[in-house]
Amino acid sequence: MKPPVLRGKPIVPPSQISRIRFSPCGKQLAAASHDATIKRWDVTGTEPKELPSFSGHNGYVASLAFHPDKQRLFTCDTWGRLTGWNYLNGKVIWDVPTAHDGWLRAIALSPSGDTVATCGRDGFVRFWNATTGKKAGEISLGVDLFAMAYHPEGKSLVVGDLFGNICEIALAKNTVERTIPVKAFHLLDRIQDVGGVRGLLFDAKAETLFASGAQPKSGGFVQAFPLMQAIDWKTSKPGASWKAPTDNEGFIHDVGLHPDGYLYAVTSGQPGNGSLLFWKPGEAQPLFRTNIPNCHSVDLHPDGKYLAVACTNANSSGNGRAKGKEYPSNYSPILFWNMGSNPAGARFSWSKSRFRSGVEWDWSLTRGVRLA
């Protein structure tokens, strides 16, 4: 078995990135950016080629989701806007400027592809016709909502909130069917509620729900242990879990399910800390793990041969400013990793690498190291 290895050169967009996703046709990579645009690249060639960005959002583009019809892309922002695009020609199909009051945090597409679900800081879950953009329903949960996932059978939607609760919404009745509390995801530190369920994902058989985020240790700096928790869907009982060994690593920011049954995920914590990791539920340790600073999103290409990771430049933090120098901004290099053959059965430690800033990369420093 071979570990994943870096592939080609990184893309270095000039802004920070919230979310990256490959189009289901495998030809494009899209990035939700802090500069209110959706950046895109053609990834059919040997090197990614930048395509025109989509604009029209405000604040941060918080998330995005491709429709499996290989035409539509749905994007949302922190000012509450939800937009449907034809990503092939760049035209807006429909646009809802105030889908939510403020931060629209997550998008989920129904298994049928007919409905786009959204949730936000305003405590609402809303449903939108994926063809017309018309509102198809809503339910208020009354708390800050972070993450969503449709059950693969399409009968229910799960929503994760700031307090570590996961609510199952029965779609036919538009009611909360059950609430699964995972209190490890929440901490009240002084007056700050910290943490939340940041990601939700069903396994291929729809028997297990994976919740991800962090077990917070403090507010402010937000020292936190990245945490993934499996939950038996039928019984609501907690199953396998993985928690990072140190509280510098912050949150699981993004997670996906590999066809081979393991989860790929990225973490970001104190500036400079972060990792790409593969975890097979039930295993005590990740199959693979490597340090990459402050990763905020990861996605597997539809061909399964490589994945992309959006991380952060080095030296991203600092108090005050250097006098007489231009004030710096940070950005999110996007790295590509060739997947090895089935990593199950082999283990890799995370490297003690450091990550260098700028566009000149020392690839050897970011490679995973195989255990003896």
């Binding site: 209110a36 931060w103 007056i191 937000v222 912050g250 952060t312 005050g320 901004s329």
Partner: protein, 407 residues
């Protein structure tokens, strides 16, 4: 040691209701809200939406046309007609350990003495008033006690009485098995011992010791102040059940009872990581009770007497680090004030388009100290401390008040 400036009159038992009302109107009081760690100016008083460092949030209109603040402060937006914002603060220190001291002591020129915190200074310059309560009360989370170091060269007597978690000092009440006569005799004995102890020691230290006992005695008579069960449920809901809400509600009661200076501290604002989720959670917990106390003071006509200040040791960086946090930023940040001597519904100063620098003349903390003293009717060009014969300015003599916010 002392100064010109205002003197407080003791009410004693000789006042008529009209005279008492006149005195109440002439009170000079301060509410000082300290957001320890540093509140982000970009998610509060000086939003820069849709700019490179502006963050994810919107700005919203306020009750004053043309003034916008962060969407995270909707109640303050409603109360803006009472508020004044200073957006061009630029200070000297980006560390907490030094920054807290420098800001709260006013960062004057170094003369080899430790200047008092603003609370101690006001306790000295304004005096205890007619409340019969300590002049400088600090409501804070966690433990309390007598914080003599706040007073600097003024001497321990002007330190802060800290009410840990808003509760009265422990063992305040006379034990039930000690009669009042026994208690009085014990105190006489203590005073005798104190006087012997003081005979060969610095008076400041022994005065502070005696003062602490006097304060305890004063508070014993006013223990009802801390009984939150008597507060209307509606007020508790308006202020919130978290520390900052409860403590601001207690601050309102202390101000109503005439305490000269009330400081309320909230910890945990040092949002180096996950800042925007932190701000989305923290800022509303400031917004709601702060707007509530402003509106309550206005409704009671107390904003004519009470100078209100909300500030921290610095703001937060425009740049957003890899942990999605904002770091320390003394270069260009904001504070909010209201009440006595302060114009209502104004903004002074500005930052550049991206919030990375002050546009125009910056204001350092010395300028804010001059502003606050002027608002209290204490003029820095006329009033001096006299520290064992050493005349000292009450604030940095090279700086001046922010005239745009002075009424």
């Amino acid at each position: 040691m002392f100064l010109g400036g205002s003197g407080a009159m003791a009410l004693g038992g000789l006042t008529t209701p009209a005279f008492a009302e006149q005195l109440r109107k002439e009170r000079k009081q301060v509410l000082f809200v300290w957001l320890d760690g540093g509140m982000s100016q970009l998610e509060s008083w000086d939003p820069k939406p849709n700019t490179p460092f502006g963050g994810p949030f919107r700005s919203i209109a306020t009750s004053v046309p043309g003034i916008h603040i962060s969407e995270l402060l909707p109640n303050c937006a409603r109360a803006m007609k009472h508020l004044a914002i200073v957006r061009n603060i630029s200070t000297q220190d980006n560390s907490h350990s030094a920054g807290v001291e420098r800001i709260q002591r006013g960062d004057p020129k170094n003369r080899g003495v430790v200047y008092p915190y603003f609370g101690s200074a006001v306790a000295k310059l304004v005096g205890p008033g007619d409340s019969g309560l300590p002049p400088y009360v600090w409501v804070k989370p966690m433990s309390g006690g007598f914080m003599y170091k706040d007073a600097g060269f003024l001497g321990p007597k002007y330190g802060a009485l800290a009410l840990g978690d808003g509760k009265p000092p422990e063992n305040l009440l006379r034990p039930t098995d000690v009669t009042s006569d026994d208690d009085r005799e014990r105190n006489e004995l203590r005073k005798l011992a104190d006087s012997r102890y003081a005979a060969n020691r610095r008076p400041d230290t022994t005065e502070a010791n005696s003062y602490a006992f006097e304060m305890a005695a004063q508070l014993q008579k006013r223990i009802e102040l801390f009984d939150v069960s008597k507060l209307p449920a509606k007020d508790k809901e308006r202020y919130g059940s978290h520390d900052l809400g409860r403590h601001l509600l207690l601050a309102r009661r202390l101000l109503e009872e005439g305490v000269t200076f009330v400081k309320v501290t909230s910890y945990g604002w040092d949002t180096h990581g996950d800042h925007f989720n932190g701000a989305a959670n923290l800022h509303p917990k400031f917004d709601k009770p702060f707007a509530a106390i402003i509106e309550d003071l206005a409704e009671r006509s107390m904003l004519d007497n009470v100078l209100v200040i909300a500030i921290a040791e610095f703001g937060r960086t425009p740049r957003i680090n890899g942990h999605l946090g904002r770091d320390h930023w003394p270069e260009a940040w904001s504070a909010c004030m209201a009440g006595r001597g302060i114009k209502r519904g104004v903004v002074a100063g500005k930052t550049n388009a991206n919030g990375t620098e002050v546009a125009g003349e910056p204001v350092d903390i010395g300028g804010l100290f001059h502003t606050w003293y002027e608002a209290l009717g204490i003029h820095g060009d006329k009033v001096r401390y006299h520290n064992n014969g050493q005349p000292l300015p009450i604030a940095h003599e090279d700086m001046h008040a922010v005239k745009e916010v002075l009424a």
